[in-house]
């Protein structure tokens, strides 16, 4: 039964995506604008790997000289594939073009959590189910071997901890990150007539506290304020 659940969880969806392939061909032919359109269409398709599509979309934006947009898409891809060296390199080159300083290297724990969070919920549920089942069955079946019982207990507890993490990430995700897509005015109040506190540079990362249709309340290293919603892209 465990095997069946694992297989069901890990099997890819048998969906093929023509937009991605068309985007790849256009990109290789140097038609980046067209490739960009195809990859944008691919994003709307169910069953494709969004991480790869975001990465390719970012490449198109980079080639078109839209570096802030490229930065946004690379961050979206990186969130889904943390540790991918190609994304990291392209991201650093994009930041260089924008003149944006690189982020401080995350700690080992942060990197591990990023990897953990990047695992799809379906796969994570499979892992939790396996750990829980093996752990509990071990506790029922194994007697007299304290080491083995401790191992089973550890497996079961790990499953529970992973479940808590999954719930925390999906139900309480925290403030989203956003990227300034152009030079954006940070105002003290959500109104165009209010004084501008600071100008955000293209590619600058901010944390979004709240959002309406037109305005977003954001926090930057220079303080907090309001920016027009269209001037930033959310790292989703």
């Amino acid at each position: 039964m465990i095997g069946v659940v694992l297989v069901l969880c890990l099997l890819p969806n048998p969906v093929s995506d023509g937009y991605s392939e068309a985007g790849r061909r256009a990109y290789l032919a140097g038609d980046y604008e067209r490739a960009h359109r195809f990859y944008e269409a691919a994003l709307g398709q169910p069953g494709v790997s969004k991480a790869h599509v975001f990465y390719n979309l970012a490449n198109c934006s980079f080639r078109l000289g839209r570096y802030a947009e490229a930065l946004l898409h690379y961050r979206c891809a990186q969130r889904r594939m943390p540790g991918d060296r190609e994304i990291e390199w392209n991201l650093s080159l994009t930041r260089q073009r924008l003149g944006v300083l690189s982020e401080v290297s995350p700690s080992l724990a942060t990197r591990l959590l990023a990897h953990l969070d990047a695992v799809s919920p379906r796969t994570m549920l499979g892992i939790i189910f396996t750990l829980q089942t093996l752990g509990l069955l071990g506790l029922v079946l194994v007697h007299g071997h304290r080491g083995a019982r401790a191992l089973c207990l550890a497996a079961s507890l790990t499953g529970l901890v992973l479940a808590v993490r999954v719930v925390a990430v999906h139900e309480f995700p925290g403030p989203p990150e956003a990227i300034a897509l152009d030079q954006v005015s940070l105002r003290t109040e959500p109104h165009a007539t209010q004084p501008v506190a600071v100008e955000l540079e293209p590619g600058q990362a901010v944390q979004v506290i709240e959002m309406s249709d037109r305005w977003a309340h954001v926090v930057t290293p220079d303080g907090e304020g309001w920016v027009e919603r269209g001037g930033i892209g959310i790292v989703d």
Binding site: M1, P12, N13, S16, D17, S20, E21, R24, Y27, A35, A42, Q45, P46, G47, V48, S49, K50, H52, V53, Y55, N56, N59, F62, E86, W89, N90, L93, T94, Q96, L101, S120, P121, R122, L125, I128, F129, Q132, T133, G135, L136, L137, L139, V140, L141, H143, G144, H145, S156, G159, A163, V166, V167, T188, E189, P195, V196, A197, V198, D222, G223
Partner: protein, 472 residues
């Protein structure tokens, strides 16, 4: 005629009054400079501290520490010069907020001055410019505006509110900066427009490469001047291909990374010569140290060749990735029902297995039997390892069989209790004596000779007489 005189007298009075309460002035770093010389120009304004506290009125929705408007449009755009540094807005608590050219600005207090016996709070806001051509930079007179009241009343909700309102406009003096051309005399041939005071150094990321293999040469230029505005030095080294270059900028430093590939067996990366103009001293030329290099004869596999093509991972982005069929956003959404199911099903499976095992008699449902089994396994393990004292394991084993706490095993009457659980009298008596000896040796009595061996013998004999699984 008399009305004109009256108007003039009123204007003079207002101007004099304004000058007594606030001032605004231009503070240039230099009044003469050369083309591309970084120059800081500031607007400084001050307000009579007592007047600011008692009379100046807030004009905006956001309460400002210094509710004045400063108009100096050239701070944002100066004809003939490029704005290169705007200066970070100060956001600490000590910073004072005011409006500069229609936008909120925050700057720390520049100090206090005393003019005409009054103490003025002074704020300064500056920008760095690079003059782009010889001539004059004209700086229009800055203007300071504020509103003030002379009478105030206390309001229950809003506190102290002005009864009257007056506008005050203070105009500073215009200024101009003379921009001289860079002298042609003594200009080095490799001069690329750097004006300021700089230091240079170079280092390479590798000291051993194969012919055609690329290496990174970092030229670091540090100092004060038009650091990010001049052209990067062009490298034309004998025996090297220059594949490309990338730049990184940090405050006070510019790093130019050249992608080089040796064409022949060169012994070093030559010194890089860098010329710049120091406004007070004229042209200067400095050079980096040559960097020793070992070039092997053949290119290493997988290395970049001598072509000028952009190389992913070196000076270009990696290409597109094939998109595998994977999970989309819908799959990334977690269903709480499935999570609950995933957490509950293992418990259900475990309980079902336990019930099935018990029904089949494969495991005892008696807690005492479980205790006996665990104690027996623990003692067997202890005797098998033959390490340390067996006292605790042996007493726990006996306690499990005679159904008492381990501490109660050493109580009087162990012999009788063992006999009640089916142990022959002679074996019960030997076991009881052994337990007494173990306890005595633990608390300072004579040490037993081979207690583990004795325990093993007794354990074998007891196992033969205790009922199966220890259940009586």
């Amino acid at each position: 005629m008399s009305s004109a005189l009256l108007a003039f007298a009123l204007w003079a009075a207002v101007s004099a009054q304004a000058d007594e309460r606030a001032f605004v002035e231009i503070v240039p770093e230099h009044t003469t400079c050369v083309v591309h010389q970084r120059i800081r120009i500031a607007v400084r304004f001050g307000i009579d501290a007592g007047f600011l506290k008692s009379n100046v009125i807030q004009q905006f929705r956001q309460k400002l520490e210094v509710p004045v408007l400063i108009e100096a449009p050239w701070l944002d755009e100066l004809a003939g010069a490029k704005l290169v540094a705007r200066g970070k807005p100060a956001n600490d608590r000590a910073a004072l907020g005011f409006v500069l050219n229609g936008k909120l600005a925050r700057q720390p207090k520049a100090g206090e001055v005393v003019r005409g016996g009054k103490k003025f709070l002074v704020v300064e806001v500056g920008r760095a410019f690079l003059p782009e051509a010889a001539g004059e930079l004209k700086l229009e007179a800055p203007v300071l505006r504020l509103a003030y009241g002379t009478e105030f009343r206390d309001d229950f909700i809003n506190g102290r509110v002005p009864v009257d309102r007056h506008d005050l406009r203070v105009t500073g003096k215009p200024a101009q900066i003379v921009v001289a051309p860079l002298p042609a005399a003594g200009r080095p041939p490799n001069f690329c427009g750097a004006v300021g005071d700089f230091r240079v150094r170079a280092d390479a990321d590798s000291s051993r490469v194969a012919i055609g293999q690329s290496l990174k040469l970092h030229l670091r230029i540090e100092g004060v001047g038009n650091l990010n505005e001049f052209e990067a030095p062009k490298l034309e080294f004998e025996g090297f291909h220059v594949l490309g270059q990338l730049e990184a900028h940090a405050p006070g430093r510019r790093t130019i990374t050249y992608d080089l590939a040796p064409r022949t067996n060169v012994a070093e990366i030559p010194a890089i010569s860098f010329s710049y103009f120091v406004p007070e001293a004229g042209y200067r030329t400095v050079a980096t140290e040559p960097i020793r290099l070992v070039v092997t004869g053949t290119p290493e596999p997988g290395s970049a060749t001598g072509s000028r093509r952009p190389v992913p991972g070196k000076n270009d982005i990696y290409g597109v990735k094939p998109v595998p069929d994977g999970e989309g956003d819908t799959e990334r959404k977690l269903s709480p029902a499935i999570l609950v199911l995933v957490l509950l099903v293992p418990f259900v499976i475990a309980i079902a297995v336990m019930v099935w095992l018990r029904k089949r008699g494969l495991v005892s449902h008696d807690s005492r039997a479980i205790r006996v089994t665990e104690a027996t396994e623990a003692l067997r393990e202890k005797l098998g390892r033959n390490d340390g004292s067996v006292t605790d394991a042996f007493t726990a084993y006996l306690a499990a069989h005679i159904d008492c706490a381990p501490a109660a095993v050493i109580a009087p009457g162990l012999e009788t209790r063992l006999a009640e659980h089916g142990v022959p009298a002679e074996l019960a008596e030997r076991t009881s004596r052994f337990v007494d000896s173990l306890v005595a040796s633990r608390f300072g009595g004579d040490a037993l000779e081979d207690p583990a061996g004795t325990a093993r013998d007794l354990f074998d004999e007891l196992e033969a007489v205790f009922p199966s699984h220890g259940v009586s």
